[in-house]
């Protein structure tokens, strides 16, 4: 049984994080921005899991906490999106002028 080299896992993690960054910059739909943030969180989780065999089992424990925080963030973020949608009838962030001067 041949194991997966650490560098492959980290490379995949870096690529997924970059794709998430690309999406956050290029999209204007607030929900898709949230999805890209989730994608970046998943890339970080992958790095944690990949490093766990080398740095200790704590990596997998932290992934558990990251997933819990991501769930909380998604719930609050989507609630904010719903309440902003009630205000401006759109989820496009070019229409979000509540906190802009």
């Amino acid at each position: 049984m041949t194991a997966i080299p650490l560098s492959w896992t980290l490379a995949l993690s870096a690529i997924l994080f970059s794709v998430g960054t690309f999406g956050v910059v290029i999209r204007r739909n607030a929900i898709i921005l949230f999805m890209c943030v989730e994608l970046m969180l998943n890339a970080v989780n992958l790095a944690f899991v990949g490093l766990a065999p080398y740095a200790g089992i704590q990596g997998q424990v932290f992934v558990f906490f990251v997933i819990a925080v991501a769930a909380a963030e998604a719930a609050v973020g989507l609630a904010i999106i719903i309440s902003v949608f009630r205000h401006s009838e759109s989820v496009d962030i070019k229409n979000f002028r509540l906190l802009r001067w």
């Binding site: 194991a3 980290l10 690529i15 794709v19 739909n29 999805m35 994608l39 790095a47 089992i57 989507l78």
Partner: protein, 173 residues
């Protein structure tokens, strides 16, 4: 057998991530993101993190993505969606920032001292611990011992998030 499977799921994950970013329809974006989550769950199990793989499917592909799809359908964004991809300047900016991020991560991950010296490195360590404590126990023992306060803080955070989400999404408080 593990390495070809890793390649398969890695290519699947990156393709689904790219489709997530480029699809116009928010619903298809969300469905492609579920594909990424599933392939990442498969990669976690290939890396020996079986419990994390199961949690990934249950929490991410199950709970969080249902929440996303529910909000998309609640706000009726599945059709009549306006094209929301920015113009060429932003595309160049996005490509540049993604490349900068990739280069930074490659520099950080490509260092010599990536594997901590002196640790009993390698997948065999995890396999030995799993054989001793079990798949869940290997995570549960540090979580309910060393990281007890962190666990309680996460529980309080989840409670606050539930209350906050209800208060924010209600019409009148």
């Amino acid at each position: 057998m593990i390495q070809p499977l890793f390649w398969f799921f890695a290519i699947l994950a990156v393709t689904s991530a790219l489709m997530t970013v480029t699809r116009k329809n928010p619903v298809s974006s969300a469905l492609w993101l579920i594909g990424t989550f599933f392939s990442l769950a498969a990669i976690y199990t290939l890396l020996g993190a079986f419990f994390i793989g199961a949690i990934q499917i249950l929490v991410y592909a199950g709970a969080i993505m249902v929440l996303f799809l529910f909000v998309i359908m609640l706000l009726n964004l599945g059709h009549d969606y306006e094209a929301d991809i920015r113009g060429h300047t932003w595309k160049a900016l996005a490509g540049g920032s993604a490349l900068v991020m990739l280069a930074l991560l490659a520099r950080m991950f490509g260092g010599e001292s990536l594997v901590p010296p002196g640790s009993a490195a390698g997948p065999d360590m995890i396999a030995a611990q799993v054989a001793e404590y079990g798949t869940v126990g290997v995570i549960a023992f540090p979580m309910y011992g060393e990281y007890m306060i962190l666990l309680q803080a996460t529980a309080i955070l989840l409670l606050i998030a539930v209350v906050g989400a209800v208060v924010l999404a209600k019409r009148k408080v």
